[in-house]
Subunit: 286 residues, 2 copies
């Protein structure tokens, strides 16, 4: 297929590469062209605008930074929507606002174009190893049609419902992580403050009812003082902000999420925004 691919950052670059490995013809656009160079060297075409990447495409995939970037890429002067050809499918894989996903679907629908929202989890390693979890919202038939492309990039690919459902599901993922991270930070800092050896504590608590991915994977980094980004604090704050706004719009009470967002903002204000999410631990040990 002819695929327009917008956004060749750390995630997008790996994902686009897997599509090329699958034999698809890519035209890429990125704000900073140098980040697309590897793909261009492998034979991808270059477009100077999102619109240019969409022209003649069977499918356009986007994975950019913030919801404002998604708006610009779809609705902007040089955006995708005015140029996307009839019958093409637009797939936004950015973690973005559920209501924006619905708005893109509605706008596109007036022109007979179908869309999917398909945010991912699994991080840069998951993207590189084509092991992403992909959470998809949009029409079932469109999902079925695009699924072979998703399978080049991920393993756990689930259709969650109509437009916006992929984004909502990603929010559930981030909400579960957010409050859970407080528990992990507080357990590790309690252990250290009580004079225990935190690694020995993990031997006791790491495999029972307290077990979690964060406890197994991030607590050891906290203990070692390794705050390098797996997932950036600044990106997590973006996600938690979207989640909290979305929850509030639905009238849902989420005090754990609200507290986590507040603490992460405190961490960012103290200079931690380019750390990994496990750096929340620093807030407890100061």
């Amino acid at each position: 297929m002819k695929i327009g691919f917008v956004g060749t950052g750390v995630m997008g670059r790996s994902m686009a590469g897997h599509l090329m490995d699958g034999g698809h013809e890519l035209t890429v656009y990125n704000r900073t062209r140098s980040k697309a160079q590897e793909l261009l060297d492998r034979g991808a075409g270059w477009a100077d605008t999102p619109a240019g990447a969409a022209r003649d495409a069977d499918v356009v995939m986007t994975i950019v930074g913030f919801p404002a970037d998604v708006e610009e890429v779809y609705f902007g002067e040089k955006g995708i929507l005015p140029e996307a050809p009839d019958g093409c499918v637009l797939v936004d894989m950015t973690t973005s606002r559920p209501d924006l996903a619905v708005r893109i679907a509605e706008e596109a629908g007036t022109r007979g174009i179908t869309t999917l929202d398909a945010p991912v989890s699994g991080g840069d390693v998951g993207a590189r190893e084509a092991r992403l979890s992909i959470m998809v919202g949009g029409p079932e038939a469109t999902f079925v049609r695009i699924r072979p492309l998703f399978e080049l990039m991920g393993r756990n690919i689930v259709h969650q419902g109509p437009a916006g459902s992929g984004q909502h599901t990603k929010m559930c993922n981030q909400i579960a992580i957010a409050a859970g991270m407080l528990g992990v930070c507080e357990a590790v800092s309690y252990a250290r403050t009580a004079g225990l050896d935190p690694e020995t504590v993990l031997e006791s608590i790491g495999s029972g009812a307290a077990a979690s991915w964060s406890l197994s994977n991030l607590a050891p980094r906290m203990i070692a003082g390794n705050f390098d980004p797996g997932f950036y604090v600044k990106h997590f704050i973006k996600d938690l902000s979207i989640a909290l706004e979305s929850a509030q719009a639905m009238g849902l009470r989420t005090p754990g999420l609200a507290l986590a967002k507040q603490l992460y903002e405190e961490l960012a204000a103290a200079g931690g925004e380019d750390n990994g999410t496990q750096a929340l631990y620093k807030l407890y040990m100061t």
Copy 2:
């Protein structure tokens, strides 16, 4: 060995049974005698007081309800400490206050008696199947000596440090669970409120960075409206209260724990104290 065993509730009954299976001679005491009947029928001796269970014992094990019960059982008029013979080892397996464990160790020490604090996790099922995690504080040599008894009751048996360290480790376990439960409740209630199918959402988020024991084991019960106790809300509140007091005494900030305790107290006030901990979900969906 001659073992005095105090506390034959749901947990203690199974644990005492495993000690008898291991060929040890038990004398049991429980406030409500009927709860010990099964053990008496199997040949355990009966004592009318904790002191009576301690007399002539090589080892005394206790697993009762609240820290106040531990105090009564050890320091009370008919308590263990005045009666425990020289050279005997006292092991409290109740989840209790770390500072109380230290106090018991100090009092016993003046009489040449050694103690361990050895709270467990794994619940009634873990107790029944001898698969408890046992977190032990006290002298290393005493731990080594008692370890064969622990091995009859559990699998993950770790010496965590001096007196109080077992209790501190259990607090780390409960702290990690507490805030994590908020994340699970909020993720599931977000999913439902957003019109998603929560079970399908779990397919997407259950095995990645949001993965946890609570998400895998308790979220399905929340979704099914099953609030039966695995672990009672009222007991969890006890643990969170101990953890919060202990954290505060150390000058440690634990906002996630404080929030969880507050929400669980709200749930108890609304009549949920005999539910399982997953019933926190009800607070979100009302």
